[in-house]
Structure formats: C-alpha cells, structure tokens
Amino acid sequence: MDFQGIHDRLRAIGAPGLVGADEPRQGDPKDKKDKGRAGDPFVLVDPQRLTDFLRVCRDDERLCFEMLVDLTATDPAKDQAHLWVNVQLLSLRHRQRLAIKCLLEKAAPRLPTTVPVYRASQWHERECAEMFGITFEGHPDPRNVLLPADWVGHPLRKDYQYPKEYHGISCE
C-alpha cells in the first residue's frame, strides 16, 4: 500500500491518537514564503496515545508493521515550543514503511513508553531520554546508554550549553 492507503486504513480502523497526516507538497506560487515541503509523508499522532497506536499498527492485518526500525526525537528550532518524536515502522509482509511524528511540549516532554509493543524501542528510548530530556513513563531500564551516568544536560537540544569541564578535563 502507498501512504494514502495506509492513512485510509488507519482512519478506517479508528487508530487511537491519530491526529492527521502531512504529505510533501509544492510551494504556493502566490506566497513567496511558502516553498512547500519535500521528502517523505508522515502521520501525526498524539504522543500520549503513541503506545496504543503502535500496537494497532503492529497487530492489524492490513498494516502488519512487525518491526520498529527507529525511534528518535528532533528539536526543530530553539524558538519552537515542541519536540518531535519520530518513529519509523517497517512491515515485512506488506513491504511498506510508515513514518510517525508526535509533537511534545518542550516544557513537559513526557509520554508513555512503547517498550510493551516493541522491545526494539527500549534502547532507542534510552537514547532519546538522555539526548533530549524526554521521559518515557514506565520504561524498564531508564539509564543513559551513550553518555556517562553523571552527564549534565541534553546534548541534542538546540539550547544545549556545552559544559566547561567534566571531571577536571577541560571541554573548551
């Protein structure tokens, strides 16, 4: 199925948390500021319902997304109020991919963990947590995965301040 088909199926089965979809489009010729958007389409999902949404994606026969390929986050800009959580799903049986985006408030970035649905997200969520400061509620093992346990700050945020020194080693 192409993206349209997947989106229609999601709406037909009433997938929980589905907010909308965003597809690439040409810019508006009348509006010079609007240059459009290139690349891949994605669906927008409410982050608090993400786990249930993923469960439906995995279990529905026509969708059948057996594998969670990637779960990550993006900080689009310093002045934007939201973080994105990006999920990439893969269906081996139907040979299709799905890109999911959730918008999280930067002030309180919390959402339930998706580990009950895919074990793959366990380490991906750990990385998101340490890099962006997102809390995945109910995560079985919320330790840092790449950074040291005592690292201060969330490096991949746009407003991240590099530390001056770490354990006596200068970071200038």
Partner: protein
C-alpha cells in the same frame, strides 16, 4: 552506567544438621562472579563493556555498556554543511564506509528529489558490494580468531588488501572513502579499474571454497557455533534486528530485494543475485553458525552483483548538476539501505538552509547489541564470545 556490584547469594541456604544433642548450622553461600568483558578486550570488536554475571562458566546475566566511542556525530550533523558531513558518515561503520556514504547521500537526495546519472549508480553499487565483501571478510575472519582459528583471518585479509587497493585507486583512501557523494560520485573510475575489479571477482570466487572448507565446515568450529546463541525469528522482529542476523534466523528479508533502492530492483529482476536465508543446516536455525553462513554466502552474491554491474557499465557523467553550496529544500526523509550489518537508516530534516536541522543515524549495530542482554544468559563464557562475534557489531556504528 550502573556501577553497583551486588553479591547475589545464589543457592545461599542455611542447612541445619542434627547430630545427637547438638545442632550444627552450615552456612553455604555461593556467589556469582561479576566480570568485566571489556572495554579493552580482544574479542569485543571495539570498545564495549559487557558486565557479565557468571556462575562459574555459566552466564546468568549480561549488561552491555556503550558510549566509549561516542563522537557526537548527530550533533555535528547540525553544525556542518551538508557536504561537509560526508567524512563523518565514513567513520561510523568504518568497515563498510561506502555503504554509509551511500545511505547519507541517498537520504539527502530523497529530500532534494534529484536523479543520479546511471554510470554513477552502477559504480556506487560496485563499490558498495565490494565493501560488503570486505566487511564480511573481517567479520568472518575475526570471528574465526575469536573461536581460536588464527589462520583464516590472515587469508581473508589478503583478499581485503586487494579490495582496499582497488578503492585506493578509485578515490585515494583505503578505509574512509567519502567517495559516494550527494548527487553522484567524487570522480570517475580510472582507466583499467573495471578490468581489475573483474580480476578480483574471479580470484575471490576461486578462493571462497578454501575459506569455507578451512573454517566454516571445520568440525571444531561447527561444534563451537552450532546451536549456540539461537535467536528465533520473532525475537529478531521484536528487537528490530536486520541484516545477516535476521536472515540467519530464517526470516527472508533483504532491503535490496524487497524495498529496492538504486538499481537493485533491476538487478533482482534480471535474476543476478539471490538472498541467502539460513535453514539451520548444522543445528537450530538462528544459531551462530547460520549467521556466519549467511555472511559467507552473501559474499558470493555480492560478486554476482558486481559482475552484473560490470557487464552493464556505460559511459556518462558521474555527478548530477547540483550547486557547490548545497541548500537542501525544506523537508524530511528517511532512507534505509542494506548495510553489511543490517538496515542503516538516515533520517534527515532540512529547513532549506546550508546545514541540517537533524541528521539521525539508525545504526544497525546499535539495535543488534540490544539483543545480547537476552541471548547471553544461559550460555557459557566461551559461548558469550562466540555470540558477540556472530552479531558482528562495530562500535563506531553503535555509538556514533
């Protein structure tokens, strides 16, 4: 990182004996040993630390600790220009650098929506497949060394030297190439290069049975790897494992055939290559032997793909028309390609500027390491080495 060491009283009971009027109390407490596998260790394929809890030789718990090779590649992606990021892509999976370049370039090209000249596509595939051979040679060679067979490692490096010499001729570098660029290639192949590649293919194909007989079907090697570290197919899907691990567990999935990119769709339709999927020939499907077998067979298939490309090579430009200072239009894309270790995914987000908003690298080894927590318990310490080796992880890709 967890730094607590707890002494678990495994089998700790107080047994009470009666002897006449007196009671004796024997307090027998045994203790699981907690050992550090790494970060400096000959068999962990890079800097990784696995905290292993072992009851004698039996592993009862394993906890991988990463981050020793974390070089902030994703953060750097946001502060350098699109083309300047290419050398950083070489350095995550340094054993298959061409594939990394390809993945990143394809992701950016997907956002830009440009077409690549055919000659560039063909040479890209040749380089990616030759690099796949080189990467698998190291994977199987060092795996043999982990098991104790020192000699096949050196034989395989002999072929790898040749591959690196070929790459040196085409782009000047032996390990980190930055050759496959956004829009095409850095430069065209020098005259005589394709003939040398054909010669390499013929020679390597003749040497392959030598490695197979010396290492893969050696009775001792089979005893060490068959029925060891079995990962069932559904566990692979649940953990997001891809590549030889997935195919070694019997799941028939290869991105080059099932979600084709570049010219792989055409090559598949021409019947030029097959996808080796393990059937549990020497033991249970999904054991270490199967994964190694898949890697050996993939080398043969790569030779066939390279031969197809050599037969269809045509003249033309090797770079599309793109501006020198690249400004990628606003948008985002995810492109996953078949790395020697699994699905290498690049998710790039652009704001229309000279630099990316986000470059996310989905390294297959990062996902592959996660399964060790579940597979290692229940194996012996010597098996732990065999299992870690069979997942073929490269720490550059795991930590980025």
């Amino acid at each position: 990182m967890s730094d607590t060491h707890t002494a678990s009283g495994l089998g700790g009971d107080a047994r009470v004996l009666r002897s006449g009027e007196r009671e004796f109390t024997l307090d027998v407490r045994t203790q699981d040993m907690e050992i550090n596998f790494g970060p400096q260790h000959p068999a962990t394929h890079g800097v990784m630390r696995i905290l292993i809890r072992a009851d004698g030789e039996l592993v009862t718990g394993a906890q991988p600790h990463l981050g020793y090779l974390h070089r902030c590649a994703e953060k750097i992606g946001e502060s350098v220009e699109w083309l300047q990021y290419l050398p950083y892509t070489d350095r995550y999976d340094y054993l298959a650098a061409m594939n990394n370049n390809l993945g990143y370039s394809m992701a950016v090209e997907a956002v830009m929506g440009i077409a690549i000249p055919r000659r560039a596509e063909l040479i890209r595939i040749i380089c990616a497949e030759l690099n796949r051979i080189g990467s698998h040679l190291i994977a199987v060679g060092t795996y043999g060394m982990d098991i104790g067979a020192f000699t096949p490692f050196l034989y395989m490096f002999r072929e790898r030297e040749w591959m690196m010499a070929l790459f040196e001729k085409i782009c000047g570098a032996r390990l980190t190439y930055s050759y496959i660029r956004i829009g095409g290639l850095f430069n065209d192949a020098p005259p005589g290069w394709f003939e040398e590649v054909a010669l390499f293919c013929d020679t390597f194909e003749a040497k392959w049975p030598e490695y197979y007989d010396l290492l893969i079907v050696n009775k001792i090697f089979v005893k060490r790897t068959a029925n060891v570290g079995v990962i069932p197919g559904r566990v692979c899907l649940d953990f997001g494992l891809t590549g030889p691990i997935l195919r070694g567990s019997g799941v028939d999935w290869d991105l080059r055939r099932d979600m084709p990119y570049s010219l792989y769709g055409e090559i598949w339709r021409d019947g030029a290559f097959q996808v080796p999927v393990a059937r549990g020939e020497m033991g249970t499907v999904g054991d270490c032997w199967d994964r190694t077998w898949v890697r050996m067979r993939e080398m043969q298939e790569s030779i066939r793909i390279v031969r197809w490309c050599l037969a269809h090579i045509e003249e033309g430009p090797v770079m599309a028309e793109i501006p020198k200072i690249l400004k990628v239009p606003k948008g985002e894309a995810y492109v996953g390609i078949e790395n020697p270790r699994g699905e290498l995914g690049h998710y790039v987000v652009s704001d229309g500027e000279k630099m990316a908003v986000r470059v996310r690298v989905r390294g297959p080894s990062f996902c592959n390491v996660a399964v060790l927590e579940d597979v290692l318990p229940g194996a012996l310490v010597a098996d732990a080495v065999a299992i870690i080796g069979s997942t073929d992880i490269v720490m550059g890709e795991t930590d980025r």
